[in-house]
């Protein structure tokens, strides 16, 4: 402090008052003609004992012209800085250059020499907002009252009337980015939010502003700024320890009304606490299914159906790398450890142009970025699983590691069961999430993340599995480099790898023992750039390239006695390349527009042998005519086309808006599945000469309105989707090890439409309720009877559930105790049922109805959850909470499926009920 004062004092004495003619002051000599200032300073340093201190970018563009003959250094500097924002200070043997720092020095003058009214007067003249400075502090530790100068002072009155501030919002304690922080000024009201990396940009009128920064769970902070021209301002936020009681500030409160994006659900990990959990595991994907437009075919069904889309039409991204099978334990658990996940964005329509490759939706899940300052951990124990996640700073403020693991010990419990059929089943899984973040500097950061999961089971009594052991795995890695190009442009360059595979083993009969596997590998590189032209206008553009390699199945004998011959279905390879450009533009207060185009090219690559078929006959072994052979890397077939993404928002008033969206999506990789839900043995295949890409066009329209100052959000969205080349199959076909899948695949058009009403409420009683009316149909009308299903008419798909109602409510009784309830109702899904029996070879057989002509009984379930948190002392070693949940409180028998078997020569109808009883689970969770 003293030192500062002494500098200031000298400044007062020396610099502004021109009391410079001290005999000790060095002089310089030189003739310059457009010489860079840095060279000039260097020569002056040589001539004198002075040292120059400055930031290079301030003087980069400064050229010196003129002749100096034994000129006092201060005179010389004055003359060359006369047209710049630079100022200087000569202190002892140092020349310190400052950019616009005249204000700081003059402020100091005021505070240190307020008894010199004359000087104050001078300063006021030079300043626009002089009065403010009298009350402000120069104390750098009191940032809230400090005055930040942004931009070049001289441009205050030149050029545009507004300027842009950009910067990062990060946490004080760990330097992690704060995504979704609200940055705003109150008068006139202008606001923006920070993106995933904490980056924000806001366009404001030039001049003085009080910039407010808010985020849930963080202390609201403010910055006094004087905005001269475009510039940067980074903000650190403190964790709000008091916020445990109640959080009323939401950065995205008006986002549903204000944002041009529609059909999106942003789910924060905090919301997990508001939904009762099942089997002791919080699951962010399960929360998605309580939102309008997202359905599952039943308990234990892996995969989701978004707005009438098939389960393979969802792209699940974990840190930007796709996860092909996002379920453990047949879909009872999601593969994502909730402790290591920070948020999920689910796009149902209006998918931004930077995403592509799947028809229906994007589930973009981000893991947490570990704390860079302190070691933290989080975990939980339940009767089936336990998990632990650690946040480890490796280099303080620079590098951090997140590692999270989860495993199940149900085998241990199973082996203690006395009933034979339980004992014979074996199920186990684990998953590990790791993430390393490294901040190189303000403008560059690196992220490495990986995800590994593994499931194994041995099922004794499942009728479908004719094998004994089954295992599947996801391996997933992503590497990203975030770079900031100046104040207006952000870039992200990443490389990802994703693998999903399964292997099955049959060893019950030694002569017939075999192992069989499937795997898909996807490697991609991409670059995404965002260019901010002020806060109302943003360009995004980029390119990506993705290589697929799929082993559709290979079978090998197991053991020396086996007579099984090795069999390999040849690999599929493909290259998917895309470029995109989009523009988000806020035309005025009312109208905001988003337009994007994505152009995708897909090449099916060799090596391959492609069979040709008689054009006028159904494809089968007899109608195969000849084959074409392609060598490695040769292009077999190319598909390409544009995908447009358009949305518009029109604000009706401050609290309501209308939005419209139009989009096209294409898909080049498809699952071949002949069961209603996603089954672990589904195989993925690439488009090729005999498997066309799927295409979807969606138009959606929505009305959004907020009540009670944004604590109640209401929306109505309607959509219509037209689909082409949906993949289906001839009844009774098998895909496992099928060498000629084109002979059993059927492709046909589809249509989906629906209307979704949702109400969200925040506050002490919070939650959401929604109703969706949704229909989805497919038509399989080939040229031959065997290629037609249901006489070639549109028929409901197996996941067509017209009415769905979801209610999630959470009530905080006290700070520590909260109750939550979840209720779900939906129409039963369609099934194919017998319409007649017939005798054949001495037994009764079933003759079936048209496909999906009937429905199973409706689904209804209520779950209850109670969370009890430990005490809230800040200094406690670890925070913990107990969570009790009861799944299916009423014990209703919800059939998962209805099926018909012939038993002892008679047709018998049965229903499969997954959770027919209330399931209580108690789990303990902790955090330190």
């Amino acid at each position: 402090m003293n030192k500062l004062y002494s500098i200031l004092f000298i400044l007062v004495l020396v610099c502004p008052l021109g009391l410079l003619a001290q005999s000790s002051e060095p002089t310089i000599t030189g003739i310059y003609n457009n010489t860079p200032a840095t060279d000039v300073f260097a020569s002056w340093e040589e001539q004198t004992s002075l040292q120059f201190f400055y930031q290079r970018e301030w003087v980069d563009s400064l050229k010196v012209s003129g002749t100096f003959e034994q000129t006092l250094i201060s005179e010389a500097l004055k003359s060359i800085f006369s047209n710049s924002t630079l100022n200087f200070l000569i202190y002892e043997n140092r020349v310190i250059l400052t950019n616009n720092a005249v204000i700081v020095t003059e402020t100091a003058l005021i505070t240190s020499g307020t008894k010199q009214p004359e000087e104050v007067e001078t300063i006021r003249k030079g300043l626009v907002f002089g009065r403010e400075y009298l009350n402000q502090t120069q104390d750098q530790s009191d940032l809230e009252n400090f005055v930040f100068e942004i931009g070049n002072r001289t441009q205050l009155n030149s050029g545009t009337a507004t300027a842009t501030i950009a910067g990062y919002v990060k946490t004080q304690e760990s330097d992690e980015p704060v995504a979704g922080a609200l940055v705003y000024i109150q008068n006139p009201l202008k606001a923006t939010t920070s993106d995933e990396s904490g980056f924000y940009t806001i366009n404001l009128p030039k001049g003085k502003h009080q910039l407010m920064i808010q985020y849930v769970g963080m202390k609201t902070t403010q910055r006094n700024v004087v905005l001269f021209s475009n510039g940067k301002l980074n903000v650190k936020m403190d964790v709000d320890v008091i916020a445990l009681q109640e959080i009323t500030i939401e950065s995205d409160r008006d986002e549903n009304v204000k944002d041009v994006q529609m059909g999106v659900n942003k789910i924060k990990i905090e919301e997990i606490k508001t939904v009762p959990i099942v089997l002791g595991e919080s699951d962010i994907l399960k929360i998605a299914t309580t939102k309008a437009g997202v359905q599952t075919v039943g308990e234990g069904a892996a995969g989701f159906n978004v707005r009438g889309g098939k389960a393979d039409q969802n792209l699940v991204l974990f840190n930007d790398a796709p996860v092909y099978n996002p379920s453990h334990f047949f879909g009872f658990f999601s593969v994502f450890n909730a402790d290591a996940v920070s948020s999920m964005d689910l796009y149902k329509s209006g998918i931004p142009a930077k995403y592509g490759g799947r028809l229906s939706s994007i589930f973009s899940i981000n893991s947490k970025e570990a704390n860079k300052k302190e070691f933290h951990g989080q975990g939980g124990i339940s009767p089936i699983t336990s998990r632990l996640t650690l946040e480890i700073p490796l280099i303080e403020d620079k590098t951090s590691l997140l590692i999270g693991g989860r495993t199940t010990y149900s085998n241990w419990v199973l082996s203690r069961a006395k009933s034979a059929s339980f004992r014979e089943n074996k199920v186990s899984f684990f998953d590990v999430i790791t993430r390393v973040d490294h901040e190189i500097n303000d403008n560059n950061s690196l992220t490495f993340s990986s995800y590994i999961s593994n499931d194994k089971f041995r099922l004794n009594s499942d009728t479908l599995f004719s094998f004994s052991d089954f295992g599947f795995h996801n391996i997933n890695g992503a590497m990203a480099w975030n770079h900031r190009f100046g104040n207006n442009m952000d870039g992200k360059f990443s490389a990802t790898y994703a693998r999903y595979g399964y292997e099955l083993t049959y060893d019950e009969s030694l002569p017939n023992a075999f192992t069989q596997d499937f795997d898909t590998n996807e490697t991609s590189i991409k670059g995404d750039l965002e260019y901010y032209i002020g806060e109302t206008h943003k360009f995004s553009f980029g390119a990506s390239m993705k290589h697929y390699q799929i082993n559709p199945g290979s079978k090998k004998p197991l053991g020396g006695e086996s007579i099984i011959l090795p069999e390999i279905v040849p690999e599929d390879q493909g290259l998917e390349s895309a470029i995109y450009f989009s523009d988000k533009y806020e035309y005025n207060e009312q109208l905001s527009l988003y337009g994007g185009i994505r152009y995708v090219m897909f090449n099916a690559l060799g090596p391959a042998t492609v069979y040709n078929y008689e054009p006028v006959l159904p494809k089968n072994g007899d109608t195969r005519t000849d084959s074409s052979t392609y060598s490695a890397g040769n292009i077999i077939k190319t598909y390409h086309g544009p995908e447009w993404r358009f949305s518009a928002r029109y604000a009706l008033d401050n609290a309501s808006s209308l939005k419209l969206g139009l989009s096209r999506t294409r898909q080049y990789i498809h699952t071949l599945s002949n069961s209603a839900s996603l089954s672990p043995t589904d195989t993925w295949r690439l488009s090729g000469p005999n498997l066309k890409p799927q295409v979807a066009d969606q138009v959606s329209l929505g009305y959004y309105r907020n009540f009670s100052r944004g604590t109640i959000e209401v929306s109505v969205e309607g959509y219509y989707k037209k689909l082409q080349n949906l993949v289906d199959f001839k009844t009774g076909s098998t895909f496992l090890l099928n060498q000629n899948v084109e002979q059993v695949i059927l492709q046909g058009p589809g249509k989906s439409y629906g209307l979704e009403f949702s109400v969200n409420k925040s506050g002490r009683l919070n939650g959401w309720i929604n109703y969706a009316y949704a229909r989805t149909y497919i038509k399989l009308d080939g040229d031959f009877a065997e290629e037609r299903v249901n006489e070639g008419q549109f028929f409901p798909t197996a996941y067509d559930k017209p009415h769905t109602v979801n209610l999630v409510a959470n009530y905080k009784l006290t700070r520590r105790l909260s109750f939550s309830v979840n209720a779900t109702y939906s129409t039963g899904r369609p099934v194919t049922v017998p319409v007649a029996a017939f005798n054949f070879k001495g037994a009764q057989n079933i003759h079936f109805s048209d496909r999906n002509a009937f429905r199973i009984p409706d689904y209804f379930r209520v779950d209850l959850g109670i969370n009890l948190e430990g005490n809230h002392k800040i200094q406690k070693l670890a925070h913990s909470f107990w969570s009790l949940s009861i799944y299916n409180l009423t014990g209703r028998d919800n059939p998962f499926s209805v099926f018909f078997d012939v038993k002892n020569g008679e047709v018998v109808g049965s229903q499969l009920i997954v959770f027919g009883n209330p399931i209580p689970t108690l789990s303990y969770n902790f955090k330190f």
Binding site: G300, N512, S677, V835, A837, F848, Y887, S897, G916
Partner: protein, 394 residues
């Protein structure tokens, strides 16, 4: 079903508590379709063709078709007209025997003139079955809620010199029943105890498969079929109690037939897992000649057949298996030990039979003893045959 678990731990394993309950299905529509079921083989005829219609689920009656014309046409254009024999069944003419290496097709003309025909198929010779053998195995019981031990019978077929790759199997079985207390005596008219004329305590029961069993040697080295499961008998079934005989018939069929049977059976056993396959009607190789869109169910099978019979004694079976208990409870205390004078009375009131007669000499002072047991424990003739089948070997 609300299964109460005794184990708290299992409460949490609700995944595995998933259960299957009966479902009362109310059929809302009925579709009447012609079903044609026929076969020819290189075994001796007569071969039959049955014509049926599908019938509503809750009924069991199928409409009779008695006046259709049915014939088989071979690859050379010869036709073999069938004649109506009994309910829905038509039989091949005398002297018609299909031969390997020839093609056959089935034709049906309904009384209204509509004609149906099958694909023409080649009759392939079937390879021989080498061995039939049993091994101990545990498989889910009928309710699939727990495993039961039993004997799985397998066949091995070394198929190296045959082109046949797809097979359908049928089995016929017979087993010997020995009641715990075989009836030996009866009460003669003069109240004396005399031996029975025919033994009724030892019988033979026959059965046949009614399930589609199919297999393929595709993907197996040397085109062989090893350890192919044909029949499972749990240790609670009577077949394994004394002596058991099984005949396995191997039909060499074409790929189309194999796929048809496979899909038909998958339809019949569709459910119970989380990943049920899509079911739907399965059509075979019969077509309506004049109206290609008309649905016809069923199949005309042309197959070479080989067969093999084996016998198994309980003592020869795997050690792990427990001997199946006799189907009826036969405790000694439930029987009666009495004197010859009272035997007729007891036989009258119990309906049983005499399994033992201990005749003492009048000098001994001890009365003669007659052992009587219930009918079910002494006599099997009321539910099984007392004469062994022709092929029976002890």
């Amino acid at each position: 079903m609300k299964r109460r678990s005794d184990y708290i731990a299992l409460l949490f394993l609700s995944v595995l508590l998933a259960c299957v309950e009966p479902y009362d299905f109310d059929p809302q529509s009925y579709e009447k379709v012609l079903v044609i079921d026929g076969a020819v083989s290189n075994q001796e005829g007569p071969y039959t063709v049955t014509l049926n219609y599908t019938y509503p689920l809750e009924t069991n009656q199928s409409e009779s078709i008695t006046t259709a014309k049915v014939w088989v046409e071979d690859g050379d254009g010869n036709t073999f007209p069938y004649t109506f024999t009994k309910q829905n069944t038509y039989s091949s003419p005398d002297g018609f025997r299909a031969e390997t290496g020839k093609k056959y097709a089935l034709w049906v003309e309904m009384p209204d003139g509509s004609r149906y025909r099958s694909d023409s198929q080649l009759l392939q010779a079937a390879p021989l079955i080498d061995t039939i053998y049993g091994k101990y195995a545990e498989l889910p019981n009928e309710n699939e809620d727990q495993n039961v031990g039993g004997i799985q019978f397998f066949i091995d077929a070394n198929n190296s010199d045959s082109n046949a790759k797809y097979f359908r199997y049928e089995w016929e079985e017979a087993y010997k029943i020995i009641t715990p207390y075989p009836a030996q005596f009866r009460v003669a008219d003069d109240s004396s105890i005399v031996p029975l004329d025919t033994a009724i305590g030892i019988c033979y029961q026959e059965g046949a498969s009614n399930l589609l069993i199919y297999g393929t040697s595709v993907g197996n080295a040397g085109n062989q079929i090893l350890e192919f499961p044909v029949r499972f008998l749990s240790e609670s079934q009577q077949q394994l109690r004394t002596r058991y005989s099984i005949l396995v018939r191997q039909h060499a069929i074409g790929e189309a037939a194999y796929l048809f049977y496979k899909r038909l059976r998958e339809n019949n056993e569709s459910g119970g897992s989380l990943f049920d396959q899509q079911v739907g009607s399965v059509y075979g190789n019969m077509y309506a000649v004049d109206n290609p869109d008309e649905a016809v169910l069923g199949f005309f099978e042309v197959a070479g057949v080989s067969e093999k019979r084996s016998f198994f004694d309980y003592a020869d079976l795997a050690d792990e298996i427990n001997r199946p208990p006799f189907i009826y409870d036969c405790f000694l205390i439930s029987g009666v030990i009495t004197t010859p004078d009272s035997a007729a009375y007891y036989l009258n009131i119990t309906g049983g039979n005499i399994y033992s007669y201990l005749e003492t000499s009048p000098d001994s002072g001890m009365p003669s003893e007659v052992g009587i047991q219930s009918k079910t424990c002494t006599d099997c003739s009321f539910y099984a045959e007392i004469t062994p089948p022709d092929y029976w070997i002890e």
